[in-house]
């Protein structure tokens, strides 16, 4: 490849990167502007102020929303990762009657639209008395999640069988083979699962819309939507607060990506090319 062409490729990549990153810069910059300047589209604010960050804390229970989101996200992540690993291990390690049919059901259940199950799911949580609480936002994860079962099974299958035959000869129980031998060797895949679920739980809007009623139980996305309903439409009100809350809801996800970038990229590449 000629030097000219290499420079053209880099130039194109820089231009596209700018397009992809500029909305973040715009958002952060807007959150640092006074209310009247939010729409001035200048990258560098004429007046830099942190008032919006102070005010958003006073106007909305941001700390509570962040705490709720963190609780849901941590519980969702831990339960989904652990239960999916158990199930994936059963499919990867054991031969048992009906295994292929059951695994087919795992794959098939990924195709079912959420809209098809959401009404009975709501009715179940309603019967159990959990509507209005955070439980429905993570409780379903106790039972494994089809996509993660699929993902983790792929990784478990790469572990050599001899390892577990040897563990058994050494007297390891089924549980010990899983917990002491398989799980430590699958840590990268478990991290991928955890990161995916962390993002999914942190950013979910539909379930909080269905299950949460009181503002004190809101997660960050649900709270941001409530602020938009309250302050936004019509535009002349408090866009500066909405912009600021958007930044607050997004920053943890950016940090997550920067911390777990390698696992996320590998995880996505594996799911797509298999």
């Amino acid at each position: 490849m000629s030097a000219v062409r290499r420079w053209l490729v880099l130039l194109g990549l820089c231009a596209f990167s700018l397009v992809f990153l500029y909305p973040f810069a715009w958002l952060v910059s807007a959150s640092l502007k006074p209310r009247s300047d939010v729409f001035d589209n200048k990258l560098i604010p004429e007046v830099v102020t942190f008032d919006n960050y102070v005010e958003v804390w006073q106007e909305a229970p941001m700390a509570l929303w962040l705490a709720n989101t963190l609780i849901v996200t941590v519980l969702a992540t831990v339960t989904a990762t652990f239960s999916s690993a158990l199930v994936a291990w059963a499919f990867a390690r054991y031969r048992f009657p009906g295994r292929d049919i059951l695994f087919g059901l795992v794959l098939a259940s990924m195709m079912i639209p959420q809209a098809v199950t959401m009404i009975p799911t709501y009715l179940i949580w309603d019967q159990l008395g959990f509507v209005g609480t955070l439980v429905p936002l993570w409780g379903g994860n106790l039972f494994g999640s089809a996509f993660y079962i699929f993902l983790l099974r792929q990784f478990f299958l790469t572990l050599p069988r001899e390892l577990f035959d040897a563990a058994r000869v050494d007297g390891a129980s089924h549980w010990q083979s899983f917990w002491r031998v398989a799980v430590p060797l699958t840590r990268p895949a478990l991290v991928v699962t955890a990161v995916f679920e962390f993002q999914a739980a942190w950013t979910d809007l539909m379930r909080p819309l269905i299950y949460l009623r009181d503002s004190s139980t809101f997660t960050i996305p649900r709270g941001l939507k409530a602020m938009l309903d309250q302050f936004g439409f019509g535009g002349e009100w408090h866009w500066e607060l909405i912009v600021t809350a958007s930044v607050i809801s997004t920053v943890p996800m950016i940090v997550l990506f920067l911390v777990a970038q390698r696992q996320i990229v590998e995880g996505i590449a594996t799911t797509g090319t298999k």
């Binding site: 490849m1 290499r6 990549l13 596209f16 990167s17 992809f20 990153l21 909305p23 973040f24 958002l27 589209n41 239960s83 158990l86 291990w89 059963a90 390690r93 031969r95 059951l102 795992v106 195709m111 079912i112 639209p113 809209a115 098809v116 199950t117 959401m118 009404i119 009975p120 799911t121 709501y122 009715l123 106790l142 039972f143 494994g144 089924h174 899983f178 993002q199 942190w202 950013t203 809007l205 539909m206 996305p221 941001l224 938009l228 309903d229 936004g232 439409f233 535009g235 912009v243 958007s246 809801s249 997004t250 996800m253 950016i254 990506f257 970038q261 590449a269 799911t271 797509g272 090319t273």
Partner: protein, 304 residues
């Protein structure tokens, strides 16, 4: 001996089902039962407070005359057609560029992927802000090159193109998958084509494209199904409490309508019937695409 092996296998089976038990319970409780119960509810009138009353196929007949069903299906189909081909095209173009980026690849990949981490609610907010007709960044940028941009968020014909355009911001996963697929194409094939005098386009058309057709069709299927179920960005931007001022019919996607019927109007039976139709549409799209896949996708050796 055979007795001992039989016992061992029984132990294995028991252990396997113990490991499997969370999913078995979950599948019955959160998948099988809900699907069956939704099918049943679709034949009833149900408002959560009173017990469901059986009404036969009335909900389905009502759907035939409900203008909003036609509207929502049309909106969703138009959005899928507007967004998916562009998502795949741009992803592939960027993946091809990334492949030639050398050592800077990781840096650019990060830049392209970061937007994917944005919560969809925040993306809904960005739709309203960046695509605002008067003072949005997009129209300001367009004005630099002499284009007078439309009112993306208020002029009905431009609402779906605006949402589709915004969806191009979050193609990070597609780019990563296609880049990985490009990496799997054996270099010898390109070299051989080059030696044979094939142009860049010829190599792309006859070597690269067939070799990555598997992932490409996979993404087409997944993205189409996702487009049919898109909810959050459009709901955030155009629906919800306090937003009665907009003519938001243009953004009424199918799942938004199901959600409204179920949880805002408490027409659970009708919403269940709507959901069953979505189920059917997704099944047909899946079956159709896998038929296409069998016909056109080339699998390289036993790699997959």
């Amino acid at each position: 001996m055979s007795e001992a092996r039989g016992r061992l296998r029984n132990g294995d089976t028991r252990a396997a089902f113990l490991f499997l038990s969370p999913w078995l319970v979950g599948f019955l409780l959160w998948t099988a039962y809900p699907v069956v119960y939704t099918a049943y509810l679709s034949l009833t009138d149900y408002d959560v407070i009173n017990d469901p009353t059986f009404v036969g196929t009335e909900n389905y007949r009502e759907m035939l005359t409900d203008d909003k069903v036609t509207l929502a299906l049309g909106n969703t189909a138009i959005y899928a057609v507007l967004s998916v081909p562009f998502q795949l095209g741009v992803s592939l173009a960027l993946a091809l560029l990334l492949q030639r980026a050398g050592r800077a690849r990781g840096l650019f990949r990060t830049a392209f992927f970061l937007p994917k981490m944005t919560p969809p609610v925040a993306i809904g907010v960005l739709v309203l802000l960046l695509l605002n007709g008067q003072s949005g960044l997009l129209n300001e940028s367009l004005s630099w090159v002499g284009i007078d941009g439309p009112n993306w968020t208020t002029d009905p014909p431009w609402v779906k193109p605006g949402l589709a355009l915004m969806s191009l911001w979050t193609i990070g996963a597609e780019i990563i998958i296609l880049l990985a697929a490009l990496e799997n194409v054996p270099r010898e094939l390109w070299e051989a084509a080059r030696v044979d005098g094939a142009s860049w386009w010829g190599r792309f058309r006859h070597v690269t494209l067939p070799m990555i057709s598997g992932p490409l069709y996979f993404l087409a299927l997944v993205d189409t199904i996702a487009a049919f179920q898109s909810f959050t960005e459009a709901y955030t931007a155009y629906f919800g409490a306090g937003n009665s001022t907009y003519g938001n019919d243009a953004a009424l996607f199918y799942v938004i309508y199901v959600f409204q019927q179920a949880f805002e109007f408490l027409h659970m039976g009708y919403a269940a019937a709507l959901a069953m139709l979505l189920f059917l549409v997704v099944l047909v799209v899946t079956a159709g695409q896998s038929a296409l896949t069998r016909r056109y996708v080339f699998y390289y050796g036993d790699q997959r």
